[in-house]
């Protein structure tokens, strides 16, 4: 998918995005630049964006869309941007299943009519010890959960990536057990920081970023933020998650960013922010400790990594 440079909100404008987003002109730019984001758009700045520091500069659109882990399109970092042009994210629907009152298959268009798209500028920390700052557009996952109306027995959700080997060349090889699955505990899924994203930099998600809709959980390692979500299943037991099935000693179900719990391959105490030379210290819960730590009180995070 080619996009014109003019379609992308200029990087400069994003640097001072907190001021920028408040102007009505800016809201116009966002909606105008995106085709499926017909949903209403929140004009005010979101309080969750304030966790960013002064030195958290946005990564460029190019950085964000050419350096991806999305094994469905190949294992190399540039494979997803190079091999995803045959993927067709439209039309799209999400199946809501399991322990809920309203099981249904929801068209993405319908979902977008019901929600308000917000801007969320989040740090993204990969388990491989690199990070980015990404201006997402999306809406809280809790909105979908409300539509599903879970039974009280639903304690976890499992999300599933679409399986289309004809369009996703990586799925033709057994790089991972397909389809990719991830999960969250219900309180994590309901947390206001947890969003389903449909765009970034005011543009619809490109295929390599998980078009048309993907999860973003900013206090967890990037692989939890499952892409191209097609199914959300409500379950009573902790569901399977691809990486923790594949290498349980390396990737836990929770996978919260934790600078005190090391990964066998990568020290998690520091990270390289893409675009910077020197490593920086990794923050507990990726800097969202104040917002999320209450959910893990009393839990041994060395055991539940």
């Amino acid at each position: 998918m080619k996009i014109l440079p003019s379609e992308i909100t200029p990087y400069k404008n994003y640097i001072n995005r907190r001021k920028f987003i408040k102007s009505s002109v800016a809201a116009g730019v966002f909606i105008g630049a995106s085709t499926t984001l017909k949903a209403s758009h929140l004009a005010e700045d979101n309080p969750f964006n304030n966790q960013l520091d002064e030195n958290d500069k946005l990564n460029t659109f190019d950085d964000i869309t050419t350096y991806n882990n999305f094994y469905e399109f190949g294992m190399g970092k540039t494979d997803p941007s190079e091999n995803s042009s045959n993927f067709n994210p439209k039309p799209w629907s999400i199946s809501l299943e399991g322990l809920i009152n309203n099981p249904q298959v929801l068209d993405l268009e319908k979902i977008l009519n019901k929600v308000t798209i917000e801007d969320r500028v989040y740090r993204l920390r990969c388990v491989e010890a690199w990070s980015m700052v990404i201006p997402w557009q999306g809406f809280p996952l809790s909105e979908i959960i409300k539509i599903a109306d879970p039974l009280s027995s639903a304690k976890f959700i499992q999300l599933v990536t679409v399986f289309r080997p004809e369009e996703m060349p990586g799925q033709k090889r057994r790089l991972l057990p397909w389809p990719y699955v991830e999960g969250l505990r219900m309180d994590e899924a309901m947390h206001p920081l947890t969003i389903l994203s449909t765009g970034l930099y005011g543009h619809d998600l490109l295929n390599q970023s998980g078009a048309p809709i993907r999860l973003v959980v900013p206090w967890k390692y990037g692989f939890k933020s499952i892409k191209s979500v097609t199914t959300i299943k409500f379950v009573d037991k902790q569901p399977d998650a691809t990486w923790s099935m594949l290498a349980p000693s390396e990737y836990g179900f929770y996978s919260n960013v934790n600078n005190n719990v090391d990964h066998p391959r990568w020290s998690q105490s520091t990270e390289r922010r893409i675009g910077e030379f020197k490593r920086r210290k990794t923050l507990m819960f990726n800097g969202y400790e104040e917002e999320v730590s209450y959910m893990y009180e009393g839990m041994d995070l060395k055991k539940y990594y």
Binding site: M75, K77, L175, D262
Partner: protein
């Protein structure tokens, strides 16, 4: 068949072909065209090149025992030294660019993470090979001693390919192929140097 003399004429071309990537990557690093995470990319490129050259020296050792391929032995030392060059650059990139001389962290990293331990050991094992590479030293040591020292290339090759194998997150086919080649060459040599002479007796 290529004669040793013709092959000597080709040698400078091989020299340039092997050294060229290091210039290219340095240029790309400065130029900003080494991708979004240039330090990681540089480190991966250098390490992979080092490992491939190590395996090339092993292949040369075995292949040059065939009469028709004897000429290959002429470039083994050059390739071996280049292997060390790339492995050293790989290690230096890790120290200088990846961790910016945070020596206490680096020591902990080497001790704590098996894949880094293996990579580091492999680098250390290559050092005596480099020191004893000049012809003068070979003569001083005598061929038999020299040869024993240079068998260190096998553990070094195994350690660095396992280092690569452990580093890769999924689809470990490429490092597995390297390990397989090394083991086959090792078995081949073991068979001809140990088993065959014993059977002959």
């Amino acid at each position: 068949m290529i004669s040793t003399n013709t092959f000597r004429k080709i040698k400078p071309i091989i020299f340039l072909a092997i050294i060229a990537p290091s210039f290219l990557w340095t240029f790309q690093l400065i130029n900003g065209s080494l991708g979004v995470n240039p330090i990681e990319k540089l480190m991966d490129n250098l390490g992979e090149m080092g490992l491939r050259l190590i395996i090339a020296t092993l292949l040369i050792s075995s292949l040059s025992e065939f009469k028709k391929l004897r000429f290959l032995i002429d470039i083994r030392r050059m390739i071996g030294l280049f292997a060390f060059f790339y492995v050293s650059c790989h290690f230096l990139t890790y120290i200088a660019l990846d961790h910016f001389f945070d020596i206490s962290f680096i020591i902990k990293d080497i001790l704590k993470r098996p894949f880094i331990t293996f990579g580091f050991l492999s680098f250390v094992l290559l050092i005596p090979l480099v020191i004893t590479s000049p012809k003068k030293i070979l003569k001083k040591l005598g061929y038999n001693v020299w040869k024993k020292i240079h068998y260190l290339i096998y553990p070094a090759a195994l350690l660095s390919s396992v280092h690569f194998f452990m580093l890769v997150r999924a689809n470990k086919i490429e490092p597995a192929i390297y390990i397989f080649i090394i083991l086959v060459l090792l078995l081949y040599r073991f068979y001809y140097k140990v088993i065959v002479p014993r059977l002959a007796q």
